[in-house]
């Protein structure tokens, strides 16, 4: 008897059909991943398994059976018994998913008591037990802390602990690691793996990251526009995909072990940073986000700056561009020390939503640097903007459209066009593709590569995704806590890392091949034991 049996599931929100005739099953103890880009409907499926769409106005059709319970027909009381006790869900953002006003131990105890009616003391003891099980040190004391006192990874562990508290048969994890750094992500995935081995729980993993799926599950379902495009054992689907969409998806995924085309860098130094330092806060609470960082960037090359959150890479990027004043050190552009902004050094921002003024047309946003330079001739302006729009893969007719009429990827292209409008020599890209889907990512990255070759630009590519950075960079600098721990040609740093932190980072990157994934997991275990 399957743990989960879904037949012809459809979910409609108003006019939108989020899930369109999906069927799959999950055997007890098995692990399945729902993989897809945003809008594919995968999260909707996960929520439907617990009947979370009931009462929201969504129309759910088809049949869903979880742990023997017919979710569609079940009475409210029965559904409540299912949730948490037989199937438990772990959500994406642990900070907002937990109640900020109560201690974590109390929240876990509350959930436990809903399903087991044990006295409070026993429930709290159980909470401490599961917190310990998921690897939270000093569990008894930490169980009395509130969520905001935990770090991101620990919060996610606490969410998993909550899911474990009632010993469910099925664990549904909806993008459990998306909000986490890569090393922390690896730990959480390892934890899930270990827990499955220990308890025999089934796992339904929802993720956009194919590598994450490869690491953790036996079977994969690739979703697109609410339908299953392809499914099968993970090795087969990822190794030799049958459908063209799957191939496209996999082709777009950047690989950390892929060598790059040779660089076109010249010797000419375009931007140079010396002993940069930036402090925040005052007095006792002051800390250095960037500490003694020096960089040289040559014409025509791409320098990748990679690091996790808190590494200072964004602060560094802003200092290079002149948006932020360094507390110490200086930035020189073509030999001249420049304080403040400089049109020759431009930036492409991360968030496609906030990088464009929603009240201006995209054409006007792109024209901004031209107007700021003093250009008055409307025809000239329009001409140049149209040229730029076409260069980044949009149409001249888009001039008068507004940002909300475009997709995330298109907005990033507009952002690139705007940066180009200033005729820059250097463009600093601050996480330019992190907010985009994998296929769009690949397109934007390709665009940047083309532009660089064509215009002889220097690019500084700041990102947390090691694979993407590998794909684009000639040279790479690895940042940690404000300092550069290792730097050099990309191939060297990636294939032969020297610094233990770099090694740790690389060991944490999810691999697409399940066998490689198992090897990396073993390597991670070694590194933590060391």
């Amino acid at each position: 008897m399957s743990l989960v049996q879904v037949t012809d599931l459809t979910v409609e929100f108003g006019d939108l059909r989020a899930v369109d005739g999906l069927s799959f099953q999950l055997a007890p103890g098995a692990a399945v991943a729902l993989v897809g880009e945003s809008g594919s409907g995968k999260s909707t499926v996960a929520s439907a398994l617990l009947g979370l769409h009931r009462g929201t106005g969504a129309r759910v059709g088809g049949s869903i059976e979880v742990a023997g319970v017919d979710v569609q027909e079940a009475a409210d009381e029965e559904l409540r018994r299912l949730r948490g006790a037989k199937a438990a869900m772990v959500f994406q953002d642990p900070l907002s998913s937990l109640d900020p006003y109560y201690a974590i131990g109390d929240q876990i105890a509350e959930v436990h008591r809903v399903h087991t009616r044990v006295p409070r003391r026993a429930a709290r003891a159980r909470a401490v037990e599961v917190l310990d099980r998921v690897g939270i040190p000093d569990a008894a004391r930490r169980s009395r802390s509130r969520p905001h006192e935990f770090s991101g990874g620990m919060r996610q562990r606490a969410l998993i602990a909550m899911a474990l508290a009632c010993e469910p048969e099925l664990l549904i994890a909806d993008e459990p690691t998306t909000a986490l750094d890569v090393t922390v992500q690896a730990q959480i995935l390892d934890l899930l793996h270990t827990l499955r081995e220990e308890t025999g729980m089934g796992l339904l993993l929802v993720t956009h990251d194919v590598g994450v799926a490869a690491e953790s599950v036996d079977e994969v379902l690739v979703m697109r526009h609410g339908r299953v495009v392809e499914h099968g054992p993970v090795g087969a689907v990822l190794g030799s995909p049958a459908q063209s969409y799957t191939r496209e998806l996999l082709g777009a995924v950047p690989r950390v072990d892929m060598a790059r085309a040779p660089s076109q860098a010249s010797e000419e130094v375009v931007l140079e940073a010396t002993a940069l330092r930036r402090e925040f806060g005052r007095g006792k609470r002051a800390f250095a986000a960037v500490d003694d960082v020096s960089l040289t960037i040559h014409r025509g090359e791409t320098v990748g700056i990679v690091g996790e959150s808190g590494s200072g890479k964004t602060t560094l990027g802003r200092m290079l561009v002149g948006l932020l004043e360094p507390t110490a050190g200086e930035v020189r552009h073509e030999g001249h020390a420049r304080a403040g902004v400089n049109p020759a050094v431009q930036m492409v921002f991360q968030d496609p939503v906030s990088s464009l003024n929603p009240r201006r047309s995209v054409g006007e946003s792109i024209a901004d640097p031209l107007r700021a330079r003093g250009e008055r001739d409307e025809k000239q302006i329009r001409g140049r903007v149209t040229e730029l729009l076409e260069r980044v893969g949009l149409e001249g007719a888009h001039y008068d459209r507004y940002p909300h009429e475009f997709s995330g990827g298109q907005r990033q292209r507009v952002g690139i066009a705007r940066a180009l409008a200033a005729d820059p020599r250097v463009i600093v890209c601050d996480e330019p593709v992190s907010a985009l889907d994998v296929t769009t990512q690949a397109q934007v990255v390709a665009l940047l590569g083309e532009l660089q070759r064509e215009l002889g630009l220097a690019l500084v590519f700041v990102a947390h995704d090691l694979a993407v950075v590998r794909q684009v960079s000639d040279r790479v600098a690895v940042m940690r806590r404000g300092r550069i721990v290792e730097s050099g040609p990309a191939d060297e740093v990636y294939d032969n890392p020297q610094d233990p932190y770099t090694k740790q980072l690389l060991a944490a990157v999810p691999a697409l091949d399940p066998q490689v994934a198992a090897r990396r997991r073993a390597a991670r275990r070694e590194l933590t034991a060391a």
Binding site: T56, D93, P137, M347, P358, R359, H404, A435
Partner: protein, 353 residues
Amino acid sequence: MSEALVAAEAAGTGVEPVPGASGARQFWRRLRVQRAALVAAAVVALLVLVALAAPLLTAIEGQDPTTYHPSLVDSARGGVPIGSLGGIGGDHWLGVEPQTGRDLFARLVYGARVSLGVALAATVIQVFVGVVMGIASALGRGWVDQLLSRITDIFVAMPLMIMSLALLAIVPSSFPRPVLVTLVIGFIAWGNIAKIVRAQTLTLKGLDYVSAARLSGWGAWRIARRELLPGLAAPVITYAAILMPVNISIEAALSFLGVGVKPPTPSWGQMLTAADVWYQAAPQYLLLPAGALFVTVLALTVLGDGVRTALDPRAASRLSVGTGRRREARAGKESEAKAGKENEARAGKENTA
């Protein structure tokens, strides 16, 4: 009036930037959909019309708001208006005022001028001062921000009614009263809007497109004008829409106490000062100004709600049941990183998270 709660209500909606608004057109479309707001707008428009046309209306009636008509009240009985229902008739459409015999309709209609005019002018002053203080505070250097915020806090703490009472006491009566009331209300109660403007400006300042404008080479003034001010329009309009009814009530209260607009200038609040005494003989003397106040404040409040919903549809979507907010999957990572960065870096983030 609960200005503090009003501030909190407005503050809750305005601070996040609304993406995807192509400005005025969307706003009107969303406003037009709400029937209650449209009705309220019509009522307000009618009131404004009446206020503006006051001289015309009273000319048609043939009366004016200040002339005494002692013959129409029975001084033997303490000034009760002669005739049924307080002296309603062809000459005096709504009857006369007890004791003075002044025409009620005229006083009511001219009272609309005072109430609406004072409230509007006071709102304008509050918005102006609030916006200037808020922007200066948000854009200024550390100590400027501290100083201006401290001043704003003081003004927020000042109890409007009490201060108004006190101030109105010491200014000699030669100064025109309605103007005085306007100035007092306007220059005391700007604190909340300053706070909202400051908060919103700080948010806007940090947005990427403002950084991009800096990179393009624009100077601070130009950026403030072109990028920041439009972003402020929404919360400011929302709050101003809430301020209007509050100011009307405050003016009415001050006049009711005898401290605001003084006779012979008519004001709805003033007309209620002794209305309970005359309730039996001339019920409309109480009901009309009270009703006028009620309808005006109600209409403005409903309109304000409608404006707020039109400017920020997410406020309306709160009314639909949902299972949670959706988030940009990957943006969540970096934004949590940004928010937690200071704390985590300081705490010395261990990698065994």
